[in-house]
């Protein structure tokens, strides 16, 4: 402990964006646009530089993690929560992704939002989001994480509803916020259980205590904590059944979709599961729930993604689907694979969203892919980076998405908690992912331009970019972040070669000693471990074979998309017609929104309006207040008769009172 670090001020990382948010929020209205964007860029960029410096210091130091305490927050009996930051390999990756991708998106947004009202407001919210997200990933305890967790929810709400004059945007913001409340409820109860059972919310202490626990044979309190955390993660990371808010969140400006609803905030749930790996690994039932939810979500979101025509909505469902992948990986205890995919996904999905924004920017705010096409000629740079991102997400080697997705599929197949079913569904999803992504690419950039000048920008657009005329390439301020992200999407996966990423994450992932043999999963685990050591060579072959399968799947999706949207463009409509019922079902997102609104929201609204509002509030609470006011009025109506305004009557009462007192005293004296 005598080693002195050259530079260790992690508090700077979240505080810098906060300063930016405060400056812009308090004075931005009066500042020129250049200065506003300058402030926002400087503070996020500085935060990124500081984060890089800390990453370098930590990796070159002998420590696996460093905890820095800045003050006591709550002390109640034996319970303590501090303002303290923890930098380890997990939060290091998260903070680099958040500040790095966040900075690039800030650069992009300065050009993208140039013609929008509320410029300073936008950057205030964006910087505020960065602050809360960094608190979330750098906190050293669950309670401080919860602060960041709620804060990013707030920033997300503000930014989805950025065009607050539009009803749909305001409603989408509300939907996101309220859906997240359901998840936060689970997270909070998980927190309470943690405090009750461990007496602390500090990660390191919880993990230390957990080393004394074996795997839970049945559903115990660790399973309960895991499941409740999963509820919270489902809300934040848009998993079944709480995923409905994310597609609607595309009402926000495109840079917001890229930063918050694709690259960073929605991965908070994955981060939480990875951070709580010591709990989840000991609760196989909770882990199984994570895997099942992740697998289902990735599958269903991918099917919906195939039918959507709004370019941002396709990407939104793709995000939900990819988050499902991460949950599947976490659910088979492959936390490092999950975080690896989180990182590569942040690169290529941010790139896809920003590219989509560039397309929308170039063709007068149009978002419907049926009105695009042939844009390759008009915006070659955007096409180039979108192609790279699509190849990356489809899992074509050697781009980033291939390495992480292949790792997830392999883990789903081979992990002691995995199963062939997860692998099979994941592989089908990979095929669909490749298909709908190339469908997007072909519909947008190939063929003939179907937009024209027919008041397209009046019909349907979230980002009011009122340029007229032919499609045009975006300015360099927007393209340069795209190019950088494209480079990251290409090389980002190389860190995973030879399990380097997995080894990097080793200090964060706690191994469970003495697994409980009475448990089915653990028995499987031992069996798998045994077979692993024996058939290592065979496994190597299997891994390569599965890798070949996933590459083949990716190309199959590409080929099908090419066949349907380039070679035979009349076919998709025919197929849709022949599968009428199924197509309608998927196009309308399995009627999930309608189902929720009839089964949950309508009764809830009725209960709130009729019972809570009109009965309890109006009759009960208001009644009590009103009745007491009426009673006071009635009593005073009698008493106020005394206040006649006649001075002499007052004097008379005083005299009479004095006389009574004197009479009483005299009477007392004579007794």
């Amino acid at each position: 402990m005598t080693i002195t670090l050259p530079f260790w001020q992690p508090w700077l990382i979240p505080i810098l964006p906060l300063i930016g948010a405060l400056l812009n929020g308090l004075f931005g209205r009066k500042l020129p646009q250049k200065l506003v964007s300058g402030i926002a860029l400087f503070f996020t960029g500085a935060s990124f530089v500081v984060a890089l410096a800390h990453a370098w210091v930590l990796v070159s130091s002998p420590y696996a993690m460093l905890e820095t305490k800045y003050g006591t927050w709550i002390t109640a009996g034996n319970f303590h929560a501090d303002f303290a930051l923890l930098v380890d390999h997990l939060s290091l990756i998260m903070m680099l992704v958040v500040t790095g991708v966040g900075f690039l998106i800030h650069v992009y947004a300065t050009a993208y939002m140039e013609h929008e009202g509320g410029y300073y407001r936008f950057f205030t919210y964006l910087n505020l989001f960065m602050f809360f997200m960094l608190v979330l990933v750098l906190a050293n305890n669950y309670l401080l994480m919860f602060v960041g967790w709620e804060g990013v929810g707030l920033a997300s709400y503000l930014l989805i509803g950025f065009y607050f004059r539009k009803d749909s945007a305001a409603n989408a913001g509300k939907k996101a916020f309220i859906t997240n409340r359901v998840g936060d409820f689970g997270f909070l109860i998980a927190l309470f259980l943690l405090i009750q059972h461990f007496g602390t919310v500090r990660y390191t202490q919880v993990n230390d205590i957990l080393t004394h626990f074996g795997t839970e044979p049945n559903a115990g309190f660790l399973t309960a904590i895991g499941l409740l955390m999963l509820v919270g993660a489902c809300g934040k990371s848009a998993q079944i059944p709480l995923f409905v808010w994310l597609p609607d969140a595309m009402e926000g400006p495109t840079p917001v979709s890229a930063l918050i609803h694709a690259a960073t905030m929605v991965t908070a749930g994955v981060y939480m599961v990875a951070r709580s790996n010591a709990i989840f690994t000991r609760a196989p039932l909770a882990l199984l729930a994570v895997a099942i939810i992740g697998t289902l979500t990735s599958f269903f979101a991918a099917t919906i993604g195939i039918t959507q025509t709004d370019i941002k909505r396709v990407l939104a469902y793709s995000t939900v689907s990819q988050l499902g992948y991460m949950f599947m990986a976490a659910g088979v205890a492959a936390y490092s694979a999950s975080v690896f995919h989180l990182m590569t996904h942040a690169f290529f999905k941010a790139l896809l969203f920003l590219g989509a924004g560039s397309v929308i920017h170039g063709i007068a705010g149009e978002q419907d892919m049926r009105k695009m096409g042939g844009l390759r000629k008009y915006m070659p740079w955007t096409f180039g980076v979108m192609l790279i991102a699509t190849l990356a997400i489809a899992g074509i080697p050697p781009l980033a998405g291939f390495w992480s997705k292949d790792e997830i599929l392999w883990q789903a197949y081979s992990s002691p908690f995995g199963s062939k079913i997860f692998w099979a569904v994941g592989a089908i999803t990979a095929f669909m992912t490749s298909f709908y992504m190339f469908r997007l690419l072909f519909m947008t950039f190939f063929g003939e331009y179907r937009g024209g000048n027919d008041n397209a920008h009046n019909t349907h657009h979230a980002d009011a970019h009122g340029h007229h005329g032919t499609p045009h390439e975006s300015p360099w301020m927007m393209l340069s972040p795209l190019v950088l992200l494209a480079v990251l999407s290409i090389v980002g996966g190389f860190v995973g070669i030879g399990n380097r990423f997995e080894h990097f994450m080793d200090p964060v992932i706690q191994k469970v000693e003495e697994p409980h043999t009475s448990n089915l999963e653990s028995a499987l685990a031992i069996a798998a471990a045994d077979s692993k050591s024996e058939e290592h060579a065979e496994n190597k072959g299997l891994e390569t074979a599965l890798m070949g399968v996933s590459v083949a799947i990716a190309f199959a999706g590409l080929a099908l998309a090419w066949f349907l949207y380039i070679a035979r463009p009349e076919l998709p409509a025919k197929i849709a017609a022949s599968l009428n019922g199924l197509y309608e079902l998927v196009l309308h997102k399995y009627w999930i929104d309608e189902l929720y609104s009839t089964v949950l929201i309508a009764p809830l609204l009725w209960f709130s309006r009729v019972v809570l509002w009109q009965t309890v509030d109006q009759k009960g609470i208001d009644g009590m207040v009103n009745e007491s006011a009426v009673a006071a009025r009635d009593v005073s109506a009698v008493v106020r008769q005394q206040q006649s305004g006649l001075v002499r009557s007052y004097a008379g009462w005083i005299a009479a009172g004095a006389a009574v007192v004197v009479a009483y005293m005299v009477w007392m004296g004579t007794r």
């Binding site: 106020r640 206040q643 305004g645 006649l646 001075v647 002499r648 004097a651 005299a655």
Partner: protein, 100 residues
């Protein structure tokens, strides 16, 4: 020596005169004079007891009452003048704006 009860009776009589005047008259100045009468009735009993008990407490009380009465007269008369200027009446029954 005159028994103390005589003083007290005279004091009570003065006080009663004041009360009756206060309750029956309508003119503010008359009411004012009635108040002075009541104060002096009280002063008389203070002095009577002070003399009887051979202490100074009663005297001090009386001085205080007289000082307060003098101040009250100054303020009160000023109020009466301004009431008369604004309302052109000294009838207390008509000075009742504060009534509900």
């Amino acid at each position: 020596m005159i028994p103390i009860s005589w003083y007290l009776l005279l004091s009570a009589f003065l006080f009663a005169c004041g009360v009756i005047g206060f309750l029956t008259k309508r003119n503010i100045i008359t009411l004012f004079m009635s108040i002075e009468l009541m104060l002096n009735g009280v002063n008389l009993s203070f002095i009577a007891f002070a003399t009887r008990l051979q202490t100074l407490d009663g005297h001090i009380f009386v001085f205080f009452v007289m000082v307060v009465a003098a101040a009250e007269a100054a303020v009160g008369l000023a109020i009466i003048i301004s009431v008369y200027r604004t309302r052109e009446t000294l009838n207390v029954d008509r000075v009742n704006l504060l009534k509900l």
